[in-house]
């Protein structure tokens, strides 16, 4: 606002300004005397926030670091120096066996080494106890090949396997790739796709999507795992027996219904509308049977072969002597800590998402209270 607003009230404004009240000396002394006492008082909420927030951050980061240290300490290579001396990778292979059935999905993941057969034995036994609870007859099966894989043959299952095998050199990579296709061919399977990549100085990798008859899958996995140093192995089986039984039962039920409909239609005692209704039902039932048969064929076909993904790779640092042991552990610790922090962040985010309606309502309530307070304030000053 500028001076022109006061133009018509010039005299009034001049008088008001000329006779403006001056603060008495006692007030000045009082204000100066207040200061030391004021230093003591501090907002407890602000102080609390200043303490709580850094403490929470330090605790969460500390927990992540502890988690990282604890996890990185369980490096299997530290407990198996003989294996390392024998020229096995620092990164011990992980064997994962998963089985899905009507009873649920079981997952067992235990680190081990390629040469440490006893480790895989333990893994497999544990997995077998968990996995084949729905099919107790398979528990007594002996272990095949590398001793890590068990696929029941007395039930209809679909098997998926994923293997990561490390080979020492570029030439070994091409040899292993050829050998892998030969292995699956010899077992009655085939290579669905092969991607081969090699770079200079001996590096490279190959990815093979393989299919073998499910009864030969154990042998195939065992032989493929021996192409080099097994880094990781994941086998999952899905029980299709119940699905097949269900489909068969549904087909049977529909067939019986079709027979009843046909008999009723042949009897000739039905009215025209009833006949039409039955014919529609009959047509629907036949269509459903055809669909179910197709689905059952698919189920059987799915159970006939096992899908195996094989990754072959060369890695310079994989062989003992690389001297990256300390760095590897630090790296694992870092990744583990970062993963833990990410988990914490997710929990906080989830909590925020859950609490956001409450916070929103709280904010709205606060705004309403503030507006009401301001309105009261205006009313108070306008009427006092």
């Amino acid at each position: 606002m500028s001076g022109f607003e006061f133009e018509e009230y010039g005299a009034l404004v001049s008088e008001l300004r000329a006779a403006a009240p001056v603060a008495p000396e006692r007030l000045r002394q009082r204000v100066l005397g207040l200061a030391p006492a004021s230093r003591r008082s501090r907002s407890p909420r602000r102080r609390l926030a200043l303490v709580v927030v850094p403490v929470a951050v330090v605790l969460s980061v500390g927990a992540a670091v502890v988690h990282g240290v604890v996890n990185s300490g369980s490096h299997p290579s530290l407990a198996a120096p003989d294996v390392l001396k024998a020229g096995v990778s620092h990164n011990a292979p992980q064997t994962t066996i998963t089985h899905e059935s009507a009873a649920g999905k079981h997952l067992t993941q235990v680190p081990g080494t390629n040469t440490a057969a006893q480790g895989l034995d333990k893994t497999t036994r544990s997995a077998a106890n968990n996995v084949y609870a729905a099919a107790p007859t398979t528990q007594s099966r002996t272990l095949h090949g590398n001793g890590g894989v068990l696929i029941p043959s007395d039930r209809l299952v679909h098997a998926d396997a994923s293997l990561e095998v490390r080979v020492p050199s570029h030439s070994a990579l091409s040899h292993a790739t050829n050998q892998a296709t030969q292995i699956v061919s010899s077992l009655g399977g085939y290579a669905q796709s092969v991607q081969y990549q090699s770079v200079s100085k001996g590096g490279g990798s190959a990815y093979l999507a393989l299919r073998v008859p499910v009864d030969k899958a154990e042998t195939a996995i065992a032989r493929l795992g021996q192409l080099g140093t097994l880094v990781s192995q994941q086998v999952s089986t899905q029980d299709l027996q119940q699905q097949l039984t269900r489909q068969t039962n549904q087909i049977g039920t529909l067939r019986r219904a079709i027979a009843v409909y046909e008999q009723a239609l042949q009897s000739g005692s039905l009215s025209a509308s009833q006949r039409i209704e039955l014919q529609i039902k009959l047509s629907n039932a036949r269509h459903a049977v055809a669909q179910l048969r197709k689905a059952r064929t698919g189920t059987v076909a799915s159970a006939a072969t096992a899908d195996i993904s094989l990754t072959l790779e060369t890695h310079k640092g994989a062989v003992v002597g690389g001297g990256d042991h300390k760095g590897g552990r630090l790296s694992r610790m870092f990744h583990s800590a970062v993963g833990f922090l990410a988990l914490e962040a997710m929990i906080v985010l989830y909590a925020l998402v859950v609490l956001s309606p409450v916070l929103l309502l709280g904010g709205l309530g606060w705004w309403l209270v503030r507006e009401r307070r301001r309105r009261d304030e205006r009313r108070l000053l306008a009427s006092a």
Binding site: F6, Y9, L12, A23, V31, L32, L34, S38, L380, A382
Partner: protein, 180 residues
Amino acid sequence: MRGVNALPAAVRPPRRVGAPAFADVVAEHLDAVYRYLVYVTGDRAAAEDLAAETFERAFRSWRRFDPRKGAPRTWLCRIAHSTAVDWFRAEARRQKREETYSRDEALLQESVFAEGLSPELEGALRRLTPAEREVVALRVLLELDGPSAARVLRITTTACSTRLSRALKRLEEEMSDVRI
């Protein structure tokens, strides 16, 4: 106004870069805050107490004061406004409880707003509402510009301008009535 150096070290909170010393602010703006509070409350004793309380609050939150966001005078007036509103609330409660208007009687007997004012202007100021006297104090006495005054009053600049216009008009009318 007293010099800054006359103030004891106790009233000098840690100084930040770009921010004036609190002692300087006290020396420069104590009169302005007091004037504002005298006009708002219409009670010199209360204005003294409230001015002291205002500076106490200002001292506590001095670390949060950012000169880039506004002048010290505007900031102090905002604190003074809140302090005055609290006082009005307390007064309203007290009057309701005691049902006494002794303060109003006292107001009529002595010169409240300033010693040199004409009786007509003094009387006219008394008849204005605190809200009207407040805007007059901010714009006329403290010479705050429109946006700064609006910020203190927590209203828009236009509303502030309207309020000032009405207050001055009413002040003049009240004075005319007294003269007649």
